[in-house]
Symmetry: C4
């Protein structure tokens, strides 16, 4: 059994991502099991903003539910299972249709870090083209382990990968980190698009060292926005 503290954090993450506009009726967030690294926790197939502790299911790294009890699993759970398989250090994964990143997935413009809060983008943001792995006639979903593995390969060692015509996937070393990254990826996309228009393409991004150093610094302050986001999500209910 997963600890109730971990489940509570995962429920909070669902609510926060909903309240912050990263997910809507769709999207999901998972966490690797603290006591069994070959398992992960993910809500049953439902809108993240409505998730409670009873909705959290356990899966193995092939995406099989271990305790379904009649609960339906997300079709796209293989996004999570294949990334946990490929990236041992990843402890949490968000998949969303975060609005401001959709245009970056559909155009040749790379997502780059415009300020220190989104410095984790400095290592590069690959774009996953499902046509490469699934051909020209998919329904756009990562609906089997093969597509999940292809997405994990495209992600490589990055923190974020965009999915053309679909959304993105964000990974982190904890629930707090992945939520932080999902939110600041959205904000960066919005502000970078604005800066590109304002400066007619001349934008001064963080350089590689600034990005790496700021990412290290930010690791020490995840609790600060987390407390605020939790309160905001709780207030809305």
């Amino acid at each position: 059994m997963a600890s109730s503290a971990l489940i509570d954090d995962l429920v909070a993450a669902n609510r926060i991502l909903d309240q912050q506009g990263i997910v809507d009726g769709f999207g999901h967030v998972s966490v690797r099991h603290h006591a069994d690294l070959a398992r992960f926790l993910l809500a049953r197939s439902m809108a993240p903003g409505l998730v409670t502790a009873d909705d959290i299911m356990e899966f193995d790294l092939d995406g099989n539910p271990l305790d379904p009890r009649g609960r339906a699993a997300y079709v796209e759970r293989f996004i999570h299972s294949e990334i946990y398989k490929a990236r041992p250090e990843v402890m949490a994964v968000v998949h969303s249709h975060s609005p401001s990143i959709i245009p970056f997935g559909a155009t040749p413009v790379p997502l780059r870090p415009i300020y220190h809060m989104s410095s984790f983008l400095g290592a590069g943001v690959p774009v996953f083209e499902i046509r490469d792995a699934g051909g020209p006639a998919t329904d756009m979903l990562i609906r089997n382990p093969e597509l999940g593995a292809a997405l994990a390969r495209r992600l490589g060692s990055a923190a974020v990968a965009l999915m053309r015509g679909h959304g993105d996937v964000v990974v982190g070393g904890s629930i707090q980190e992945v939520v932080f990254r999902a939110i600041y990826t959205e904000i960066n996309a919005k502000l970078q698009a604005e800066a590109l228009r304002l400066g007619e393409g001349r934008v001064n991004y963080l350089n590689a060292e600034e990005a790496a150093n700021a990412t290290e610094t930010n690791r020490r302050v995840f609790a600060r926005p987390w407390d605020l986001w939790k309160r905001q999500a709780a207030d809305r209910r």
Copy 2:
């Protein structure tokens, strides 16, 4: 009499479309009568965000109210009646001034599906020019059956038609589907406009097969956002 479940869903649709910013004081949503396909249900002339079960009226396919009881009907009810006449498989219709679609109706730029949630746009989005059917001096409203029929012809077999200088009309196979489509049409318009600016016109849309397949897939998940939207609309009151 329409079933109270259908009326409850129609009231919920009014509230959801208001809460999601698809309608404001204006706009309306209807559903075909479940037991008599030659009738449809639509609120009396009022702001959708204030509609209750007592405000729901029944109309025939010529737009005549069957149970007015002193309640005023929307001037533009012919949008609904003529589409139900022309499209037997359509079970629900939304007309709105959804903000992000207004610019697409007033410019030559076609609305196209930028991600899988709005894949139903893949079959094409015609623009209705009221001057073609009503001449150069209308008040822009679909205020008689003839204009309604002209709009239905322009819609053809599409899911959405834009109305120049006015708004749009969205159709679906159920209340849940038409609400889903109205909301994701708005989001698509916003994100497509952003992508066109970001990519300076180079945007990679869903292809025809992706759009058709994703539309089929989405039909199985309408309940997921519907539950969330209902809760959000209820919370706001």
Copy 3:
């Protein structure tokens, strides 16, 4: 004494304009006295969103308060007094720094009606340049009857005038009409700017007859959004 119904409507107008984002801490709305056309009602100098019935003062058409009782008057009350003097048919006036119209006041791009809700813009929207009447070193405020008269002359017979580097003034035949116009002026500005970018300047506006006809039609439906806006403003408190 003004009737309590008129005062209640003026208080509601203050709250609605605040809740809809037309005014912030600044801006004001007035109504001509129903029983004495040479008087008008306007809140004391304060944020519109906090106005109650006790804050409503009476002024003559020179902008003199008739019942100050220690209450401070807005410095810019001459916007109202001079327009009521120049336009006998005007019964209500809004002055605001409505965000989306600021760019139109500061650039040579004319505000034009992109859809039927803002058809009242079809008669043209003049821009008031305070340097013409007040010279190059004002503090931008309409702080005396002379500047108010110059603004009223620039407004002419229009429904709306933009004020460069400042905001706008909107007039109507009732409180309901002026609130309707203030809100749809803001929305039109936002959507027109978006359409100009999307269409790279090619935007199909309402023509003069469509604008005139839609304006006439809209006069019959002011109550519909008013009821909604009142409820939304009341819910927020």
Copy 4:
């Protein structure tokens, strides 16, 4: 001890800046001590939206906490201490990642006053490039007195300085003034970017005299929006 009235205002400023979207989990606001000009008050290291009176700490002008009682200080408190040292007339300071100003910090486009509410920008808005003072490999933070002093020098006598890839710093003669300026700096950035696109670069800004005069006038009305913002921040809780 600082007076409870000053502490209450500082707590209100934290909540207002959060509610108005100027700060998120990050950012801070300080006030100079009313009875000892060589001290200032600033919350402990936490999200501004959660600050209460118990979280307010006192610092000297070298950024040393005088009453830590186990409370952690913001790493970037030297933004405040060095500005108070360099600018005796400054009584309050805001540092934020205010979203609309980020693009101006990352491009060569200068921030200029588009309307009278942001007239305090008329004296010019310098951009602080941390690479000039800290080299090419900082973590972007003002984490020591030397970087704080460099930022204060770049600010010079201005009301606002942008920080490339980071945010801005805003100063004022009181808590009310600095909050007013932080909010209208954000709004100006948003509206100026919009005007530059709309007018394709042709924007008519306030001239120097208009800006100076409007700034003087605005000093007399800080209480008006403050009362509103306080109520809005209180309502949200």
